[in-house]
Symmetry: C2
Subunit: 103 residues, 2 copies
């Protein structure tokens, strides 16, 4: 399972984020993605590899082309991390705010 670190690291790069968002809109092949981006096709391939290892996309062969699709599991992991962190940190935040209230 992809940990939160890998997920954030995968989404930290602007180009990779753009690729991920385009794949999220609709499944696409590598060349199709590279066409609308200011980087070369191999660069897109490398980014997709990172996204795949992070659990954010999946790929399937279709002839010579490779179709990349979003993997809901990745977003689910982020949401899970966020939910847990949300509760903990917000509770601590409220506790700190209340302890300051008496001053």
């Amino acid at each position: 399972m992809a940990n939160a670190y890998r997920l954030f690291a995968a989404l930290s790069d602007p180009t990779r984020r753009a690729i991920f968002e385009r794949v999220a809109k609709r499944p696409q092949a590598v060349a199709s993605l590279a066409r609308g981006l200011p980087v070369s096709r191999p660069a897109v391939s490398q980014h997709l590899k990172v996204l795949k290892e992070a659990g954010l996309v999946t790929d399937r062969a279709e002839g010579t082309r490779r179709i990349y699709q979003i993997d809901p599991h990745g977003l689910g992991a982020i949401r899970q991390w966020l939910d847990r962190f949300w509760d903990d940190s917000l509770a601590a935040f409220k506790a700190a705010a209340e302890s300051d209230e008496g001053e």
Copy 2:
């Protein structure tokens, strides 16, 4: 307002994530944070600066010390981004899955 790119970039570094999580548990000063981490104190300061600019933490002076605290606004921005992205991408994912269903 901090955009999603800055947030993800801020949380992509492991050391910075550790600092953020410790600050989330309870407000702390810089030296206190540096004590439990394998990096120098200036490094912690630099990380806190990034977290602050991303809208993830706030700071207030307390004597010569500077207390860093979590900023709920930052997590809120992540959640907002995730919610919107969740709906869009999941809709596209379902649409793609259903279009494959007939094959």
